[in-house]
């Protein structure tokens, strides 16, 4: 109950956070129900009507193959959110496990994990993602894996730091003395306390994951056509800006920006809810 009150307080206190939560819900709803409500088939080409400007029939205009941009943008929501969510959850889970183990057991575990993380972090992140996708092939799975890998270190570090601190606290000592196993302690007592700072980063990472996928598409290492994904729509539409068909790139780009924007602000809101000390 106290938590709920706190959440309500944060939301009403800060209109921006409130707005971003609403936006976030809107995106989720679009991802789930959008494909059922769109006016046109996002994959159906209509070459007679290629590159038509926005009109009453095609709200966002048509692209180079005559496909309805609005329908494609809506359908892309599902794919982009999926990529972002899965990638971030994956890096969160794997990172937390690695970091927690390193923070709890210390010693060689800590050293090995530490070096592994350093190796990842020393790579220019985007180039690492590029290299992984180029090497393994540009499927959605690989884009997700590449994004997950480059985001891993953060969660691992935070988990490690928090677990390390908590490990030496009195209540843990007491629990160990009363016969609790290490694993049980780690999973149910220590780790939940380490979660708050990571929750914030989850949201921020989702935004970054979407931008990452967009960047990969620009180079040609992104999602395969004819799948609709915001990033690849912007990348393809980029070729048409100069010739004046700005809508092909602008609408997916604007929606992409809105989504990332929303995730970033949401991250701030989550920080306020979970960890008011660190407000920034």
């Amino acid at each position: 109950m106290k938590n709920l009150k706190h959440i309500k307080y944060v939301l009403t206190e800060n209109p921006i956070t409130f707005g971003s939560v609403i936006l976030f819900l809107l995106f989720i709803l679009t991802a789930i129900f959008g494909p059922l409500l769109i006016p046109f088939d996002p994959l159906a080409s209509d070459t007679e009507n290629a590159l038509n400007p926005p009109s009453a029939l095609h709200w966002f205009g048509t692209d180079q193959l005559g496909r309805d941009v609005f329908s494609r943008v809506v359908v892309a929501t599902r794919l982009d959110l999926f990529i972002a969510l899965v990638a971030v959850i994956l890096s969160f889970v794997v990172g937390s496990i690695l970091g927690s183990l390193a923070g709890y057991y210390g010693g060689w575990t800590d050293r090995i994990v530490g070096r592994f993380l350093d190796t990842i972090m020393a790579f220019p992140l985007f180039v690492l993602a590029m290299a992984i996708v180029a090497a393994l092939g540009n499927t959605i799975e690989n884009i997700v894996y590449a994004t997950a890998i480059i985001n891993l270190p953060f969660y691992a570090r935070v988990a490690r730091a928090e677990v390390n601190v908590l490990r030496n606290s009195p209540f843990v000592e007491a629990a160990l003395v009363s016969g609790n196993s290490h694993m049980k302690l780690l999973c149910f007592q220590i780790f939940p306390n380490a979660m708050p700072p990571m929750m914030v980063q989850l949201s921020l990472n989702m935004g970054w994951a979407i931008l990452n996928a967009a960047g990969l598409s620009f180079i040609g290492l992104g999602v395969k056509p004819p799948d609709a994904e915001w990033g690849i729509m912007v990348a393809e539409g980029a070729n048409y800006i100069i010739s004046g068909e700005w809508w092909v790139a602008l609408f997916p780009g604007a929606v992409l920006m809105l989504a990332v924007f929303c995730f970033n602000l949401l991250g701030d809101g989550l920080r306020d809810i979970f960890d008011p000390r660190k407000r920034s």
Binding site: A44, S45, G220, K224, P226, A238, I241, I242, S243
Partner: protein, 536 residues
């Protein structure tokens, strides 16, 4: 390569730059200078070097001379192109074929010199030709196409007389002397930089051209630009009107278009079809589009893999391609359609010519049913990422169209670097797109490269014994041989019937330029020959 060389290199570069700065900034007055932008720049000044990319051929064309060149002709729409039937003197001011037809003797132009003032001699020509056939890789293969294979064939009779002994009579030999490969190098300079490990001075000539061409290399910043300057003592043709050529590398086609429209550059080379159509319609700039000879954008079906081993399936596919849509959307109609031919048997030996297929889903379904694929099948369509600007829209439309006859297509984008290996060397792509353009404009030349078993551009793994003997026979016989025409018709007939290759259209090479730029000529090597360019 060691650290020292890096420092040495910087010192040399620095010295060069210091010298160049003496040139007044006003030397870049726009009247005497032409600025050209392309998507990719050269990666070497030496066309004989391994790994040299296509844009480097422009360097061979402008910085070096050959024994002979081609004349030019004017097309009905006023644009100019090279005339492959008119061979003209360049370094060789005249030549004679021996009475038995088994050799040719060339008279080297007296007074023609290299950039450093040394006269061009038959020695230089022999050294250069020996190099071309000895280095292996693409240059030697190209020389071979003209039956120029062994150094023993080349003789320097005296300072101004050079002789080539033929190993067979072939209509391709003399034209092969005008392609970019047989450049004439200043052998004195080259030999000074040759070593035991590097007898052909490849390391030196990679960065330092030693030629006699109408343009000299003023500076080269790899990845950025090449600056050429006119060689004032050029005697091998009329002195070019333009003093300075700047070739700038700008990867993004949108940026190239923006630069052209704002008047900041003079010529944009190899413009994507949509841009060329719109630029042309806007009337702000001139767009010259010439059909690329002996070339087609086509679909390849690997006959060694099911289900394409069955000719009925291949034909079914040929009837299910949305030709018109593709021509409109991928080509923006900048090309000549290669579909909808009227008769199943070729009536002329024109090449390329439209194949007798058009979009007809009924015919396609019937053939698939006959072959036992009534339910269709699943198949990946591979495209070259480097050519995505036309391959991707075409692939998407084909994917949609084939679904109508039950064939489920997934699109596989392969990066440019891996394309050659997968498509041409391994021949492992079952369903893919192709774009080959032969330098020598003869249909038998095309069949040699694309349809002959095991040859590089035969990505369809096609083999046909009749075709093999026909090509062998026809490749070297002259055009006026009575067997020529019927043989070519037979070859085209096989291509029509067997259809391992489904053509879509013959592309234009579109070049856009400011209205005051004149003299652009289309060349088979598809690079820009700066020697005829002028500004009005």
């Amino acid at each position: 390569m060691k650290r020292r060389d890096f420092i040495k290199g910087s010192a040399i570069l620095g010295a060069n730059l210091a010298l160049l700065r003496i040139m007044p900034a006003s030397a870049a007055t726009r009247a005497g200078t032409v600025v050209i932008v392309t998507g990719f720049g050269p990666n070497s000044m030496d066309i004989h070097r391994k790994g040299t990319n296509r844009p480097s051929y422009a360097m061979a064309v402008n910085l070096y001379d050959r024994l002979l060149g081609y004349g030019s002709k004017t097309l009905p729409d006023g644009s100019m192109m090279y005339d492959y039937q008119k061979l003209e003197p360049e370094v060789a001011e005249s030549w004679e074929i021996a009475s038995d037809g088994m050799s040719a003797t060339f008279k080297i132009r007296k007074g023609a010199t290299f950039w450093d003032g040394n006269p061009i001699t038959a020695e230089d020509v022999k050294w250069s030709f020996d190099r071309a056939v000895s280095v292996g890789g693409f240059p030697s293969v190209q020389m071979k196409a003209g039956s120029l294979i062994k150094p023993e064939q080349f003789e320097a009779i005296d300072m101004h007389t050079f002789k080539i002994n033929f190993i067979r009579k072939s209509k391709l030999t003399l034209p092969d002397l005008g392609v970019p490969v047989p450049i004439i190098i200043n052998s004195k300079v080259a030999k000074k930089h040759a070593t035991k490990k590097d007898p052909w001075a490849s390391e030196y000539l990679h960065k330092n051209p030693a030629g006699s061409g109408a343009y000299k290399l003023a500076r080269w910043e790899p990845g950025q630009q090449v600056v050429l300057e006119r060689f004032e003592n050029w005697k091998n043709g009329p002195l070019p009107p333009i003093k300075r050529v700047i070739l700038r590398e700008v990867p993004s086609p949108s940026t190239r278009r923006a630069l052209l429209e704002r008047g900041d550059i003079d010529i944009s080379y190899d413009v994507p079809p949509k841009d060329s159509k719109e630029l042309r319609d806007s009337g702000k700039v001139n767009v010259i589009g010439v059909p690329i000879e002996n070339s087609m954008y086509a679909i390849g079906l690997n006959v060694k893999m099911k289900p394409f081993d069955d000719v009925r399936v291949r034909k079914a596919l040929a009837y299910a391609i949305p030709y018109e849509k593709v021509f409109k959307v991928a080509a923006y109609e900048r090309g000549i359609p290669m579909y909808g031919g009227k008769s199943l048997k070729p009536e002329t030996i024109e090449w390329p010519q439209p194949f007798p297929y058009d979009t007809d889903y009924e015919k396609s379904k019937t053939l698939l049913k006959e072959a036992g694929y009534e339910k269709g099948f699943e198949i990946p369509l591979s495209i070259n990422l480097g050519l995505a600007y036309w391959m991707e829209p075409a692939a998407l439309l084909i994917q949609e169209s084939l679904a109508k006859v039950g064939i489920k297509v997934s699109i596989d984008k392969i990066p440019g670097a891996s394309w050659r290996t997968k498509a041409l060397v391994e021949k492992g792509l079952i369903f893919h797109m192709k774009s080959f353009g032969g330098w020598l404009n003869y249909p038998d030349y095309y069949f040699f490269w694309v349809y002959q078993d095991g040859h590089l551009f035969n990505s369809m793994s096609y083999k046909n014994d009749e075709l093999e003997s026909l090509v062998e026979e026809t490749l070297h016989i002259p055009l006026d041989d009575p067997a020529y025409e019927p043989n070519i018709k037979k070859l085209i007939g096989i291509a029509f019937d067997e259809v391992p290759l489904i053509p879509m259209w013959q592309p234009f090479l579109d070049v856009a330029m400011q209205k005051n730029v004149d003299g652009y000529e289309y060349w088979f090597h598809r690079q820009i020959d700066c020697r005829a360019i002028k500004k009005t």
